[in-house]
């Protein structure tokens, strides 16, 4: 299905990071089954990813341990793998990760309640695979750095919004109120003459604040750009403005999003 595929071996890092989705993961595992060096490498890299896990440590709620005790009491354990028996063989994971069973614990079994909240941020952004790094052009807003972008995209409270731009194209916004920042990117914006540019605005109760000038589209993609100073209740607007710049919107909004 996909046209460009990296050599399987170069995917060892992505595999150790669980950054391969289903087909890519299966392909790498097939390759690793024949490649001892790959298996060894993944094993080593997983020591590094485990340290990333340790660095993220946070204490779980005490109730979790109690609920778990009840759960293990009624969960049958897998027998050990023997070297001559049938439990071994193909079931034995070559990469040191056994296959996780399909079972999922429902809330009833967990004894824990989970609000029916949908996921924000990371999950939502996943569909956006087309962004390009902003050129450090004369943006009115703060310069976009991929570090800042990563901060917003991985923020615990990140939320994604998408909307059509009235004059053509689709805008995607990922925002984090915690960081007071948003990442804006667009695809398919109508090209503008050199004397004009697209300008982002944060529209608050008091006044409209310039939030950044979009770089020229490249291959149909615009952005991502970072806008900061986001306050709750703000809306995001997009207008076409003269290249000379302006302190307030001078043309109708071609996009308006409630943040």
């Amino acid at each position: 299905m996909r046209i460009r595929r990296p050599e399987p071996h170069t995917l060892a890092g992505a595999y150790a990071l669980d950054a391969l989705d289903g087909p890519d993961r299966a392909r790498f595992e097939r390759h690793a089954a024949r490649c001892q060096e790959c298996t060894r490498e993944v094993t080593g890299l997983r020591e590094a990813t485990a340290r990333l896990a340790a660095a993220a440590a946070a204490p779980p709620p005490a109730a979790l341990k109690e609920a778990l005790r009840a759960e293990t009491a009624r969960t049958r354990q897998l027998p050990p793998v023997t070297h001559d028996g049938h439990a071994a063989g193909r079931a034995r994971p070559r990469l040191g990760v056994h296959r996780l069973g399909p079972r999922r614990l429902g809330p009833r079994r967990l004894g824990l309640r989970r609000p029916a909240l949908a996921l924000g941020g990371a999950a939502a952004v996943a569909a956006v695979t087309v962004w390009v790094t902003a050129s450090p052009g004369p943006s009115a807003g703060p310069p976009s750095s991929s570090q800042e972008i990563a901060t917003v995209l991985t923020a615990p409270d990140a939320v994604k919004l998408t909307a059509r731009v009235r004059t053509g194209g689709t805008a995607t916004v990922v925002m984090s109120h915690h960081h007071g920042m948003l990442v804006f990117a667009a695809a398919g914006l109508r090209p503008l003459p050199a004397a004009q540019h697209y300008e982002l605005w944060l529209i608050g109760p008091g006044q409209d604040q310039p939030a950044g000038r979009l770089p020229m589209p490249s291959h149909g993609m615009t952005g991502p750009v970072i806008a900061s100073g986001l306050r709750s209740g703000d809306r995001l607007g997009l207008t076409v403005e003269p290249a000379a710049g302006t302190g307030h919107p001078t043309t109708p909004m071609i996009l308006e999003l409630t943040l």
């Binding site: 460009r4 485990a50 354990q77 824990l112 924000g120 939502a124 996943a126 919004l161």
Partner: protein
Amino acid sequence: MSPPRSPWAGTPPGADHADLAALLARVAVGDQAAFDAMYDRVAAPVFGTVRRVVRDPGLTEEVTQEVFVEVWRAASRFDASKGSPMAWVATIAHRRAVDRVRSEQRSADRDRRAAAPMIAYDDVAETVADNLDRERVRRCLGTLTDLQREAVTLAYYGGYTYRQVAGLLGVPAGTVSTRMRDGLIRLRDCLGAGR
């Protein structure tokens, strides 16, 4: 040095791993006390990692619980020749978190999601005991190139696939996969050398 709560903080490599491996061996034969002890040792890294990836507090608890049930169920399959016990547990945790996020993502209703209320985490509760690990990892992440670091952290903590990371950073997917590998190798060497 005070007794470490985390499997690595300040201990010589090996000693603590052996300890945890011994606990897992007892868990494999249904020893509940060993399971409790093992839980106390690895619960914070597991919970914290799952939380970083899935974000939703309720889902974090659910996935964390699934991870430990899985550790209980499959403890007999832990093989010390294929890596440390912490790497084994962390791998189960991270993969389960990532898989859950991706499956929720596939089935999610985008409009409802966009309208979902924000969730604020209480990071204040995070313990001081883990700071040593965090500091060491932070320092070693600092030795990576920007692209290596971003590729590694977006994948691990953000739960993105390397293709998604490529899109987010505006670089070819092949470059991202290479940087992930190079970055992890460098991270591994730095962390190993820092012991």
